[in-house]
Amino acid sequence: MRKLFVKTSNYTRFMRAVDRAESRGSPEAAILLVTGQAGEGKTATLEHWSVEVGAVHLRAKADWTLAYFKRDLCAAMRIDPRGHADVVFNRVMNRLGTDRTPVVIDEARFCLRDHASVLQKARECCDLAEVLLVLGGIPGLENGIARHDEISSRVASWVEFSPSTVADVRLIANELSEVPLADDLVTQIHQASDGRIRLVRNAIAVAETMGKRGRLKVVTAADVAGQDLVYDWQARRKQSVRASLSKPVGLGLVK
C-alpha cells in the first residue's frame, strides 16, 4: 500500500473554497468552515493542507478555555505565553501578520462554550492580521456558529464534505494499491464502506494483501469473496464481498 494523500473530490472542493476565501472582497471575512461526518477525510485534508502551507494547526480540546487556547496557540507558534493576555495576543497577531500563516482549528465545536469566547478571540486575531481562519468539525458546527452574528457574518466559505463517490474510490485504489483492483471490487468496496475514506483504505489494504498473496495481476471481487473488507461496529456486521455482481459496471480502466 502506497503512502500518499489522495486528492479526492472533497479535497478539490476544499481547495476551491480556500481560493474563494482568499479572493474575498472584504478582508475581515476570513473564516472558512469545513464540516463533514467522521471518516470522510476532513481531518486528513486539513492536516495535509496545513503541512502544505505551513499553517498553525490546532486541535480543539473538550475542556478548552481561553487560557488553555492561548497556551496551545503560543506553543504552536513558539511565542512566549507569559504576560498579560493583551500583550500575548499582540505577539500572536504580530507574528501572524508577519508570517501570513493561516490558522486551522479542527474539532472547532469545542470552541463554542462560554459564548464562543475562544472562537471570538481566534477571529479577532485573524481579523486584525487578515489571515484565513479555517474551522473544521462535524455537521452541526455551522448551527453553533450561526448563533454568533459577529462570527457567522465573517464566514467567507463553507465546505460540506460528502461521502466518497465511486470515482473517488477508484482514484484511491489506483493511487494507493500496489496491485490493481478491478471495477467490480471497487464498486463493492464503495457500497460496503458507504463512501467513508477510512473504511475504503482498510478495504483496499485487505484486497491488496490478497492480491499479493495470490500473485494476482488484477484483484477482482471473486478473488476476495468471503473476506471481511470492512468492519462497521454500528451495523454490528462485517461487510464481506459477494462473489460476483449481477451486471458489470464500467468505471474506466484500472491503473
Partner: protein, 194 residues
C-alpha cells in the same frame, strides 16, 4: 555589454575628463542610471571628479585592463551550504507537530507530494535522527504493516516540540541542529556509534 557602470568606465577610458551630459552621450547611459553608475564607480575609486567633470583613475584603468566586469555581484564565493526551503523534511516536521503521535507511514502520507524519489527512506532516516537526538520517543507497539510479511511501522511520539522550524540533521556531526533554539543536540554515545 549591459552593465551601466562598465559602459561609463569604458567611455571615460576613451576620453577623459567628461562633463555628465557629454559622458551620458558617450556611454549611452543617462539619468538615474548614470548617477548610480558614477556613485558606484567613485565608491570603488575608479572614477574621480574634478571641477564638475569626471575622469578615470589609475585603478579604474587597471580594472578595465583585467577584462573583469563591473557588476553588482556576486561579491565572492558562497560561504556556506545553501538552505533549501519547502523540503520534504520541513513538511515532515510540520506533520509531526500536528500529529504529535504518529507512524512513519502517516508522516510520509502527509508530507510527500508524490514527486520525491524515495520519501520512505528520507523520512525514515530523519525520524531516526530525531529519535537519537531526543526529539522523538519510539512507542513499544508498531502500526500494522500493509505488506503480508511486514514487521509494521514504528510509531513515535514527539517529546521535544521546539518550534515551527524543522531541526536539521547534520550527519557529519552526529547531531541535530535546532534553528528554533539555535542549539546542537548530539546523539547519545551508544547511538552515535551506530
Amino acid at each position: 555589454m549591459s552593465w551601466p557602470a562598465q559602459k561609463v568606465l569604458a567611455a571615460l577610458a576613451d576620453k577623459s575628463p567628461l562633463a555628465p551630459a557629454a559622458l551620458g552621450r558617450a556611454s549611452g547611459v543617462t539619468g538615474k542610471s548614470l548617477e548610480n553608475a558614477l556613485y558606484r564607480l567613485r565608491k570603488h575609486a575608479f572614477v574621480a571628479i574634478e571641477r564638475g567633470c569626471y575622469r578615470i583613475t589609475e585603478p579604474g584603468r587597471a580594472f578595465l585592463e583585467t577584462g573583469k566586469r563591473f557588476t553588482s555581484g556576486p561579491r565572492g564565493p558562497q560561504p556556506g551550504r545553501r538552505l533549501h526551503r519547502g523540503t520534504l523534511r520541513e513538511r515532515a516536521w510540520r506533520a509531526m507537530r500536528i500529529k504529535v503521535k504518529f507512524s512513519s507511514a502517516e508522516i510520509v502520507s502527509l508530507a510527500a507530494k508524490g514527486a520525491e524519489s524515495n520519501p520512505d527512506s528520507n523520512v525514515g532516516k530523519y525520524l531516526r535522527a530525531l529519535e537519537r537526538a531526543g526529539y522523538l520517543m519510539a512507542l513499544a507497539r508498531r502500526e500494522a504493516g500493509t505488506a503480508p510479511t511486514s514487521n509494521g511501522f514504528r510509531r513515535y511520539v514527539l517529546v521535544r516540540n521546539s518550534g515551527p522550524q524543522a531541526p536539521r540533521w547534520l550527519p557529519n556531526h552526529a547531531a541535530v541542529y535546532d534553528p528554533n533554539t539555535e542549539q546542537m543536540h548530539a546523539f547519545s554515545a551508544p547511538e552515535a556509534a551506530r
